[in-house]
Amino acid sequence: MSSADSQSLAVAEAAAPVPLARPRGARISARIGAVPWWFVLPALAFYVFVVLWPSIEGAGFAFTNWDGLSATKDFVGFAQFQRLLTDPAGVGAVVHTLLIALSITIVQNLVGLLLALGVHTKIKSRNVLRVALFTPAVITPVATGYLWKYLMTPDGAINQILGFFGLTALQHDWLGDANIALWSIVATVVWQFAGYSMVIFLAGLQGVPEDVLEASRLDGAGPFRRFWYVVRPELAPAITINLMLSIIGGLKLFDQVWVMTSGGPGTSTDTMSTLIYKNAFQFGDFSYGIAMALVLAVFVAILSSAQYKLLGRQGGSK
């Protein structure tokens, strides 16, 4: 999620519906197909050397009892993974991670879609609004976390504003109350990345044919029916990308949680990522942290590919 802003243009381009077949495009594809396969070798070797091999070697530590410092380590098989199954903190973190990922995915995309529909109009200030709504996505998540942590203190701006309007019953200890701290973090993430989802939906909306919309309007279709039967199918690629990015970002969420609550109060906002960090770097239980990270990586990969196939199929059959 943190690197998402840098990819926005590329992703937005990918989200836009693929144009109808063009002879020129076909010639380009043919030329690309003619490039010798071994041209990919330098980049592939670099990727293997810098990413793949260190990752595989790192994953190997999950099968040892290395503490992250000692010169010695023993092979312990799947012992670290067995610990994970019986660790109450691990189970709690998995539940929190799923809650966060699910709620962020739903709320962020709903808000992003509504914002996109709102600014995909002919109002004069639409460009200013687009920039303003996207701006939070370019702020580093750590800075956002500190900003909202400050706003959410018991004497912070949010409670002050609520008090100013006489809504004292709504005032809360947003990050200190174990029952709502998790949702305060979710709200912060949605605030930051709803604009990012909006941009991807906007790119998709650019490809909705005006003549079809106009025809449906003439046929008497109302706004909801126009959206459901004309706009939604055209947005399928954008929906796929948005859902995938937000669910991956939600599952991996670390920065905002760490800055705002460090997993507390108690363990009420601990996620897989914060627990991985705590075990590896605070408890000196490096191998267990790696085992958790490996499980998370596999989990994210399975979920993402399943989601991609499911939504891709739906998009294809629109």
Partner: protein
């Protein structure tokens, strides 16, 4: 044939790039000052920077031609980075370590891995007071040099106290009464920044010397020998008293939503009358408080007999020499300077602490006079985590205290969790 040649060429280039990258990693591993005997490298946490600025300037003044390159970083980042550097052989010559055990960068943890130089032969190694010497050692050898002595107590804003017509309590009953009196005056008795994890431990740390470690000095050893547990000790009294303080309204409304900085600001402004903190908070509050604000750090009573009251006081800022230091002689020379009365006093003076080895030439900050007296009288006990076998125990304490304050657990369950963490060993 032509294709095959190109393929072979590209593989060769990639292999060369890969191998040169390996070579580069090796040479950069020499890192640091480069072993020229004149450039010392050092790393510490951000809190140590003001003191390091002062002692490094003095050290360079006394050693012309010597350069000291030092970096400071936040606690989490420091522990992560330095552990990685030590295991990969790229750590600085001198590293900040924690005394004793119970922390990923604690003396015994790092020495156990063979990453610290044995400093037993240095003249200062045997000069530490009884409370400090053990936490600089591993297997009977000295591996770290403690520079300061730190304490935990209630830091009172005496100016605000006088304005409210209140005096610091000296007994447990008096403390609860003080809380209600402060509340009646519209003030918080003890501001608590429990959102910051490590702050949560300070109240148990200030109560257990009187309740647990003073009456039974062998308690840490008893735990190590599996003759004692948290659950079956007066630790339960300490945590119950923590909750009693909460019930008595000793803290502000939302301690779990208040962080360390906000808690100090409340005391500096006089909105709260005190905060239970480490001695470095005196300097931090002073920076924010109006000029002329009088502060005083005093023990937190845990019983109704004032003469029983003890304080948590222990080795503070501590340094070790990297066993693979490129400039080992210079590193040892620097640590020896830190351990000289001149270096130690300068460091302690700048960091608003006390020198690890008491000496008459040190001018104590009036706010820390009581802590110094307790140190001299032997009425202090080491910070508890310094004798715990792993970092998980302390982290568990942070978590259970937050759960206790949130009403999510009870004292019995909290102590069982700490026992479980302790039983996982080193």
């Amino acid at each position: 044939m032509h294709k095959k040649s190109l393929l072979a060429l590209s593989v060769a280039v990639v292999a060369a790039v890969g191998l040169s990258a390996c070579n580069g990693g090796g040479s950069s591993a020499s890192g640091g000052g480069g072993g020229d005997g004149k450039t010392l490298t050092l790393a510490a946490t951000t809190n140590e920077k003001p003191a390091l600025d002062a002692v490094v300037a003095k050290f360079k003044e006394q050693n012309q031609g010597v350069d000291v390159k030092y970096t400071t970083s936040a606690l989490d980042q420091y522990q992560t980075t330095t552990r990685t550097q030590l295991s990969s052989g790229t750590a600085p010559d001198v590293v900040f370590v924690w005394p004793g055990d119970g922390n990923p960068m604690a003396t015994r943890v790092v020495a156990k891995g063979g990453f610290l130089e044995d400093l037993s032969s240095q003249s200062w190694a045997n000069s530490f007071p009884a409370g400090i010497k053990p936490v600089t050692q591993y297997n009977g050898k000295t591996y770290s040099a403690s520079v300061t002595f730190s304490g935990i107590g209630a830091v009172y804003n005496m100016t605000a106290m006088k304005a409210a017509g209140l005096t610091p309590p000296t007994t447990w009953s008096g403390l609860l009464q003080f809380c209600s009196q402060a509340k009646a005056k519209g003030k918080t008795a003890f501001e608590l920044g429990a959102q910051t994890n490590w702050v949560t431990q300070l109240i148990p740390y200030s109560l257990t010397p009187t309740l647990v470690y003073g009456p039974n000095p062998s308690f840490p050893q008893d735990m190590a020998d599996k003759k004692a547990t948290f659950s079956d000790s007066k630790w339960s009294d300490a945590l119950n008293k923590y909750l009693d303080m909460q019930k008595a309204g000793c803290f502000q409304a939302n301690p779990l939503g208040t962080d360390y900085n906000a808690s100090l600001t409340a005391v500096a402004k006089g909105e709260a009358l005190s905060v239970i903190q480490v001695n470095s908070a005196v300097a931090a509050i002073n920076q924010q408080a109006p000029q002329g604000t009088e502060l005083n750090m005093l023990p937190v009573p845990a019983t109704d007999n004032a003469s029983e009251t003890r304080m948590a006081g222990a080795a503070g800022s501590t340094y070790g020499v990297n066993a693979k230091a490129k400039n080992k002689d210079l590193a040892i020379k620097f640590v020896n300077f830190l351990e000289s009365p001149e270096g130690m006093n300068l460091y302690a003076q700048t960091n608003k602490a006390l020198p690890a080895v008491p000496n008459d030439s040190f001018k104590v900050d009036p706010a820390l006079a009581t802590l110094q007296q307790y140190q001299k009288d032997g009425k202090t006990d080491a910070f508890m985590d310094q004798n715990w076998p792993n970092a998980r125990v302390q982290q568990t304490l942070f978590q259970v205290v937050q759960d206790l304050l949130a009403g999510k657990t009870d004292v019995s369950s909290a102590l069982k969790q700490m026992d479980t963490a302790y039983s996982q060993g080193s």
